[in-house]
Symmetry: D2
Subunit: 406 residues, 4 copies
């Protein structure tokens, strides 16, 4: 367990920009359980929606003026829960008002937008957080700790998969607003998860991406796959789809030289219900069926990382230090995705271009020779059913590979 | 999701009695994440332990006088995290001070102690909560909602299992202090979980229990099994052990006439790590091995129900209503366990004696005849591989059972 | 892997009695894959059903005379796949013909019938096998080997669960024919599985059983639960239901002093399909739904133990030795079930009466004191998060329990 | 269940070439259970190894002359269980002797070798089978049936993963003998599994492959990943590693327009053992640890597909028809792998060159527009928590995407 001991009982007052699905989710997280933070103002371009949202969540103020919401004197931090094409403007307004700002994922529709936002917050010196919730799921946080403690040795590969039957709102499906398809929408999660496992200080060097519109009659891609190669040779693998059937599949896998990690955040978490009752016996959101076997999660807000994300960000804001996921991380992810789109076109590996690199200049290689004796390197050791050990060895001088039972 | 909207931002100030394993856990829960409640005073019979605990958790006051801890003017609620033999005295002191009181499980070492505590809090009219955390795991809360919504029809059986390799502290193993063995220590969880699924308003009628000391050289039982029969015919089944190997196993299963629920709270929750690194690559508490496959949970405090438990209790206290698990529930569980101990001795079913029953006077039976047509009851309908339906029918008049393909 | 090397290529010629669901399954097993055994004659009381069955399975002879089927000169072994009330007569006819006989489960409708059959085959000296397939599932065979090799230490508890939404044919539901309800139908499996784990040479001493008719409008019990206590203190726990929803649930769990075994034979075996296609996209038998998540097994005949069961029995018959499950085992199971029915009536533990006991006269106790040093017994050793070891010790002289960090 | 009814009781007599790990496995499969086929001659270049193998498996003849083994008059079929560099010669010898021939995977060290073998068997008209066991696991066979029946709609993506800590024998690690690293050794499985799911009649068009030597001090790749794009747009994804920790991981996943399939063939199959006993309590092969949680499979020979593979091949041979996996399939896989090696070098998509294509000339596209009404295409339909349906629609004329609640 990571125990944060917040000794002083400060709280954060938030302006929520946006009243859609994700604004709802964020507000539930912020007002949930015994949480001490509050949304004090909400902005919606639609008066009625803003009012309804405020009433539903017990928010004292609502407004159709983004400037007023952000500039309200009671507001400490701005949370951007808007469609992608509005992120930049909202960030810039927050910066102008000198307010800290937390922005939902992806940061920009492309790296250019993201860079503008990054430079703006850094130049102004305001607090900034990149709302990449899936890096904060309780399992992921514990798994990242295990990696840090050396439990799996050096990470050589991390797979992150996010698939479901398609997003809730029309704007996702419209490329001008969203900036892209499933790669932009969900690839950003997978890329950042793998980057966390492999090491944020290891430079992402190049990417290979396949993207296609296979099932849905849309302009953008509805399926995408790809690899991000890091400087030390490790590979981050992402798989995203808007045409998966069966619910929402959020799984990560990590291979290290000394171990393995398997995380299932949503569809198989030790909670299984069979119901023959149908609609009248309502069980869970996001299940694709009303009858049969259904797989809910316990507390969705916790399991999807919202609770730990806001905890980290508000505690960092209070304490005046940097949170786990900043606009710089959002920018790096946007650069990687831009390279992915180039690769999907060029059909070859494309370099990741980074305007600023803040990690290690030189990464250590993964491979480390293990000596067996003066003459041999050890390739593999295996216990046989009879208890003997079988060794695969490589003669140092000749390079010849031999086996040996000891 | 259950969304509690705490509109006013009140907070609870707590006196923590006890600085052991469970006191630690409770305090972590209360001070965790962005929680607004605080432990403001801690009591330990040992000056040094109290001081160390206070320093570790940022608690302003510590004392070796229970009276002072409870009576401190800043204290709203008392949390009892003490060995079983001290519960009664701590409750009575809290009542004398007019403070609300939350007591860890089991409420008493026996029903008699529990009844005294129940009568004391009710007579004094103070707020009281029974800290039965496992009824509050996020999965259990959602499963109970599903049951309430009719997703599984009428519950006919609920199995609850809690096993691990034995408790952490010496006092558990000493019968005079604890009041019993694994049945008292963990059976209380299982019995109350099953009771929640079957319905707290359905009277527990009789119990059958086997208890034995099979593995550990102790006086009390280290393994126990049993059934609690409810008035409507449903059965709650419990399985507890202090000699289980492989970690901590917390699983519940529910059979209903229309569905099934399987909850795994701890050992298989979609999080799996293989480590060959051993001690230097520390992964998780309570795993029985340092190498090999290990199965942590995400956020232990959440998954074990502590977060939702305190949320419910403090919100109920603020709102002046009753929480999910009160001293009455603790008392009922103690009565059921007393009957279990009698049954383990008498080797037969033993009635559950309840000094006061607050549920339904008469429970509806589970069985409800489904009519097929004027002449037949339907016993079963099955779809065959060829798509036809096979019916098993019972002739109303004769009682003869026949099959029919339609 | 257990590798049987059948050096001589003999084969078994079988008379199949019965053409229902189980006769079908047995014949598929015998004729499946590259199997060398054949059904050469089939008996059905109905000419047409026998003929159709013969044609479907490529069986050369069919008859409505049981005597002719059994007595056919090409027949080596008789397989009884008949409703329970016909077992005794079919066994006695086989014995009269001097043929080896394999009988489906349960052996008798009660211990009395079973004893008559046991005495008949033994007196005549014919080969006999008790077709208890679930003891032969590949997982169970490997788990039993692991137990034998000491992988889990001494077994203290074995749970076996078999539940589904009710049997296929009308005769199961009619007590005069079947001899009982779900306890007789499926409890026989669970009881024998647990007996195998605990040790067939350990005497089953007494039983406790709850049985009720909760959901189905029938005379016999549709749900039953119970414990079988063995002489060394170990407990076999069974759970059977004809009102389970969600498919067929076949799970076993074993607790040993040094380990744990979990076997899932059917509903969660690493094979999961989500289908939105419905009837037109047929997936699997026994799934309770046509759409949604469905959990087939790979090869049903293998996974349910039929392949290994006939392999063991025919190989034993060829080699002139005894198979794993004989009529004696069937008899013991019937005695245990008779005691269960008595217990369900008397509501107390009932002794298991055995006309002949062929196991150990005296079982070793499970408990074995582990010495810590000259003064203390060791109760428990636990590694703490900081790497220290916490010991729970019992002073030999005083019996006082203390904890110690080392 | 697929029920093959072999009406005539023929049997196959086999010459086994090779006495290593895979020769052993094949022979166990052929002699296992009540199987009717026999190995009648074995070849090893080493007299003593051949003799020991023959004795162990009850094989009447052994020889160091491959010609004699193949040419033996009792031999019907030759099974090649040899290192990769010997496949071609053994196939050509079998062809010269006019014997049917079954060859282990991969067929050749490259497509050129495979093509020579393919042309040889086809020109001679001898029976040929490609021993791709993992396409024959019982779960895979049933899953392929489900796909064929339309249960998952059109397949758009199939992932196949095979990883373990490295092969048993020295020759695998030596590129001149094996022809390549983990891609050749295990990629062949994954590629053919995905090809079966997507459709063997759909042309594999191009591949993208990453391969690296990350962990082991060897010349060939120890990790490889890649995509095979089929003509209809579907993608087969493979993941192979010789540096995975935790056992052997064999998993497949399929996404279809109407459903999902998840197959786990080895490491999580509903069989879990915790053992604290260590070496003295032997549990299972291929587990990477002696203590802790271990995950065996039931019957390894069945679960890995050997039983069903030989069943299919020998039954096809008897019946004079073609088996599921022929040398043509082996050749296609080799071509795909050759393209993968080219891609790993060129760092871009590489076309798959096929000397002969025997599938469809033109594949149907996956995308099929679903009409909502005269003006709109349907993109997505979702049931909301309140029971309403939310539609995402695309206006036919304008291409504008809108949402609508109904």
């Amino acid at each position: 367990m990571i125990h944060y001991l917040a000794k002083k009982s400060t709280m954060a007052n938030v302006a929520m920009l946006g009243t859609g699905f994700i604004g709802d989710f964020y507000t539930y997280s912020l007002h949930g359980k015994r949480n001490r933070d509050r949304v004090v103002a909400v902005w919606s371009r639609d008066e009625e929606r803003g009012k309804a949202f405020a009433r539903k969540h017990g928010i004292p103020k609502w407004t159709t003026s983004m400037e007023k919401a952000i500039g309200d004197s009671s507001v400490d931090l701005v949370v951007i829960a808007l469609p992608n094409h509005l992120h930049k403007e909202a960030v810039l307004q927050s910066v102008r008002a000198g307010k800290g700002v937390l922005c939902t994922k992806p940061l920009g529709r492309n790296a250019n937008e993201a860079l503008i936002m990054l430079e703006a917050v850094e130049k102004a010196g305001v607090f900034h957080g990149y709302l990449e919730d899936l890096v904060y799921t309780p399992k992921t946080l514990k798994a990242l700790d295990a990696v840090k403690n050396g439990a799996v040795g050096k990470v050589i590969w991390a797979r992150s998969r996010e698939t479901h039957p398609g997003p809730h709102s029309d704007w996702f499906w419209t490329k001008e607003i969203s900036g892209g398809g499933v790669l932009l929408d969900m690839g950003c999660h997978c890329i950042e998860i793998a980057r966390n496992y492999i090491g944020k200080d290891i430079r992402p060097v190049e990417v290979l991406c396949w993207a296609d519109t296979l099932v849905k009659p849309i302009e953008a891609e509805d399926n995408a796959l790809g690899y991000v190669r890091y400087e030390n040779g490790a590979v981050g693998q992402f798989e995203v789809s808007w045409s998966f059937r069966g619910g929402m599949d959020l799984r990560d896998e990590v291979m290290g030289t000394e171990g393995t990690i398997w995380v299932n955040n949503f569809l198989r978490t030790g909670f299984e219900i069979f119901t023959a009752a149908g609609k009248q016996g309502y069980v869970a959101e996001k299940a694709e069926s009303e009858k049969g076997w259904i797989f809910p999660v316990g507390d969705e807000v916790v399991e999807l990382g919202y609770t730990d994300m806001f905890h980290d960000m508000f505690t960092a804001w209070e304490g005046n230090f940097s949170c786990r996921e900043t606009f710089y991380d959002g920018y790096v992810v946007n650069e990687i995705m831009d390279a992915c789109y180039r690769s999907a076109q060029s059909k070859k590996w494309e370099p990741v271009t980074l305007h600023s690199w803040r990690g290690k200049e030189k990464a250590e290689p993964i491979l480390s020779l293990e000596e067996y004796d003066a003459n041999y390197w050890l390739i593999k050791k295996e216990t046989m059913p009879d208890g003997s050990k079988k060794l695969i060895l490589k003669e140092k001088k000749s390079g010849t590979i031999v086996q040996k039972i000891v």
